[in-house]
């Protein structure tokens, strides 16, 4: 048997089973989006597989079924018994074909008749539906459709904002802002800060900022979406990646440039055959090599960027899960997520959810005290868990920080000895910090009582194993009575960082867009000196100002009457970065500073711009370190 056919028989059976299962589930609960997606995926994957083994008739039948479900997904058709029945019938036929293939090792003959029949029945069904549909659709399907449409609308506005033509740019920005604000209103989201962010970007005429605001709206939409409660494991891994059209266009552009560069090398080769000065040739070759190096580098980046996802994909279910878990242990807790837009390779994003969830569970179970104990300790009764993600050079740092009781080191020492994790002599030599790290040792669990959450014999060693398998590290630190922080340091193999370019003292710099809260213009007179520093009061908050131009030693002309400030959030604090001009939004692959720049404070990394210039991306944390007000 052809190896493809062999593989097809195995996979096909699984997919038929999965499709059956999801279709039955969908019939029971017509509004169940996960079931609908699952069934659709099964049909879609089967169709693709049929295409690979050249089973055209099967692909045709499956295509018709997929179309029918696709109409349900877009809210254009209801889930009906005949529809489910026909889809199941289609899968039965596929199953029968697979049996024949296994027996004969080849595509069964005469499949066309059955396929035609199925296609015809799907067509009939659709025209029957079309007559039924206009006035009464399943309300749950409409609700799902509304949030899907909202999301599509927001994505479309982002694309519109990415249009480069200067003609009509203001109109595009304005209309995108109106649509985004209307989607917010329609969804009834808590809108004040998002609306003001939209407003700010409108006033500043800043498409990049508006795109960011829209990203946040998309984020809160996803949080609002009712997710199936329960564990994350139930989610099958995505086999597809949604790719920004712009990223594909960049690939196409780069390929074109590569072709040109390739031709140039051919030309040089022909000249080498003639009698040409070798030094001249060397110069030409060197230049072409440089060009190729740059293009291939960019191509590599672009290809990697196709696999990049925001951590949001992993984080989006956490708020709800934490709420449920907090409820089940009776300890009120709030999860605060920062940096969900940080991007990482798809494989990292998908694999990190489970370990983080485990740590969150641990925090609720062991770290956080109940409300009575917290009150006695002078803490607010509702605990806060911060989940922070940020890019640090070439790694992604994720921290889970709770404000609980911290780890009891004395008790830990006792348990470690009792469980044989470390000997008394070893423990005596270990510092408290080292002892705390023992929680990652295999089989270590300090829960004196098994609870429903984390005490099921799965310890933090599982977390460590999972993280190390990704090429990451995990560490823990704790302060008695104050809380515990678990830090993950992960590679991203590939990562695109969105930056906003700014100009100061005639130079261009990048600022991680992640940190940018808004852009404001303030009168010079509103800026006050506070000690040696400067600050401005913004919505009742005092914001320290860092003048980038002055720090770079720009000729100290008269300061402009209106200051352009980039309000950034650094480590939870707001800061104002004064710049001469705001530039574009770019997605760049950040490299750790090396060579002359290595070790220079204030530099987060560098990236090569399209024209070969180096863009220095600022490390805002280091800049505002000395500018506290």
């Amino acid at each position: 048997m052809n190896e493809f056919v062999e593989q097809f028989v195995i996979e096909g059976r699984e997919l038929v089973a999965q499709g059956n299962d999801d279709l039955l589930g969908l019939e029971e609960r017509p509004g169940d989006k996960d079931r609908l997606d699952g069934a659709f995926r099964a049909l879609h994957t089967l169709k693709g597989a049929a295409g690979i083994v050249d089973f055209v008739a099967m692909a045709r039948a499956l295509h018709a079924a997929e179309d029918a479900l696709s109409a349900v997904r877009s809210g254009n058709a209801p889930v009906t018994a005949p529809l489910i029945g026909l889809c199941l019938g289609c899968l039965d036929q596929v199953g029968a074909w697979i049996d024949l293939m296994q027996a004969s090792g080849d595509i069964p003959e005469g499949a066309d008749v059955a396929a035609d029949d199925l296609v015809r029945r799907f067509t009939d069904l659709r025209s029957a539906d079309a007559k039924l549909l206009p006035r009464h659709a399943d309300p749950s399907a409409t609700a799902a459709g509304s949030s899907t449409i909202s999301r599509q609308l927001l994505e479309a506005q982002k694309l519109l904002l990415a249009e480069r033509s200067p003609e009509g740019a203001a109109g595009r920005l304005g209309s995108a802002g109106r649509v985004a604000a209307n989607v917010l209103r329609h969804q009834g989201l808590d809108t004040t800060d998002l609306e003001s962010l939209l407003q700010t970007s409108l006033l500043a005429g800043d498409a990049a900022l508006m795109a960011m605001a829209i990203d946040r709206i998309l984020g809160s939409l996803a949080e609002k979406e009712p997710d199936a409660p329960g564990m994350l494991m139930a989610q099958p891994p995505d086999t597809t990646v949604r790719v920004d059209v712009e990223r594909i266009e960049r690939l196409v552009r780069l390929t074109g440039e590569l072709l040109v560069a390739k031709n140039a090398v051919g030309h040089t080769a022909r000249r080498a055959e003639e009698d040409v000065d070798p030094r001249q040739l060397a110069v030409a070759l060197k230049n072409q090599h440089l060009l190729l190096e740059r293009l291939v580098g960019q191509l590599q980046q672009s290809v990697f960027s196709l696999r990049v996802l925001p951590l949001h994909r992993a984080f989006q279910r956490f708020p709800r899960l934490v709420r449920e878990m907090a409820g089940s242990v009776g300890k009120p807790a709030l999860l605060v997520i920062e940096g969900a837009a940080t991007e990482a390779d798809k494989s990292i994003v998908e694999a990190i959810a489970e370990p983080i969830l485990h740590v969150l569970r641990n925090a609720l179970d062991h770290g956080i005290e109940d409300a009575v104990e917290r009150r006695a300790a002078g803490k607010p009764p509702t605990a806060t868990i911060h989940l922070r993600a940020a890019r640090q050079g070439d790694r992604i740092e994720v921290a889970v920080e709770d404000d609980g009781r911290g780890i009891d080191v004395r008790r830990l020492r006792k348990v470690a000895q009792a469980r044989g994790v470390a000997s008394a002599a070893q423990l005596a030599r270990m510092s408290d910090e080292e002892v705390v790290e023992l929680i990652f040792a295999p089989g270590f669990s300090t829960a004196s009582q098994v609870t429903g959450l984390s005490g099921r014999g799965v310890g933090m060693d599982v977390v460590r194993t999972a993280v190390e398998r990704l090429g990451g590290r995990v560490s823990v630190s704790s302060r008695p009575g104050v809380g515990t922080v678990v830090r993950f340091s992960l590679p991203f193999t590939v990562m695109m960082t969105p930056v906003l370019t700014v100009e100061a003292a005639g130079q261009v710099f990048g600022v991680p867009l992640e940190a940018v809260v808004e852009t404001v213009r303030v009168e010079r007179t509103a800026i006050a000196a506070v000690g040696a520093a400067q600050a401005v009061v913004l919505r009742n908050r005092t914001v320290p100002i860092f003048d980038l131009g002055r720090a770079l030693g720009a000729a100290s002309g008269a300061p402009r009457a209106v200051a352009n400030l980039l309000i950034v959030s650094v480590g939870g604090q707001l800061g104002g970065l004064e710049v001469d001009r705001l530039g574009d939004r770019l997605d760049v692959m950040l490299k750790a500073p090396d060579g002359l720049l290595a070790g220079v404070p204030g530099i987060d990394g560098t990236t090569l711009l399209g024209d070969g210039r180096v863009l220095v991306v600022l490390d805002l944390g280091a800049m505002f370190l000395n500018v506290q007000v």
């Binding site: 877009s74 809210g75 254009n76 079309a130 549909l133 206009p134 006035r135 659709a137 409409t142 609700a143 459709g145 509304s146 449409i149 909202s150 599509q152 609308l153 479309a156 506005q157 694309l159 519109l160 249009e163 033509s165 003609e167 009509g168 203001a170 109109g171 595009r172 920005l173 304005g174 209309s175 995108a176 802002g177 109106r178 649509v179 604000a181 209307n182 989607v183 917010l184 209103r185 329609h186 969804q187 009834g188 059209v245």
Partner: protein, 129 residues
């Protein structure tokens, strides 16, 4: 008929039947609807009255949908920032990028059912769920 939404929509299409179909759906959902037969007529209308959304076809005599949108986006605000929903024929499905370049906020391919149209228009006008 649903109670008035207070939102005013301009439907631009040269086909009487299509305009009628959209008007019927939108009015039924409580929108106030005006009509224009082509881009030129539409431009006069948007400069003369405040709309919440434009629903526009692509292929029309005199001034097509894309030219109309490009012209619209070059007007002074607030006219320039009128949200626009383009509805085009299936044959022109690859035109989504062209519509965007012209300044369209969203793009639907015909046939668009009444329900789908109303849903898009309601969200784009910010009506509550």
């Amino acid at each position: 008929m649903t109670e008035p939404s207070g939102k005013r929509i301009l439907v631009i299409d040269d086909a009487n039947l299509v305009r009628r179909f959209y008007r019927d759906a939108l009015e039924h959902a409580g929108f106030q609807v005006d009509e224009a037969l082509n881009g030129v007529e539409a431009l006069e209308k948007v400069l003369g009255a405040a709309y919440d959304l434009i629903v526009v076809d692509v292929n029309m005599p005199q001034m097509d949908g894309f030219t109309f949108l490009e012209t619209l986006r070059r007007q002074a605000p607030p006219v320039s920032s009128l949200p626009a929903l383009v509805i085009s024929t299936e044959a022109a499905a690859h035109d989504a990028a062209a519509a965007r370049a012209a300044g369209a906020n969203f793009y639907l391919v015909k046939p668009v059912g009444q329900e789908l149209l109303v849903e898009h228009v309601s969200i784009m006008c910010g009506l509550p769920t």
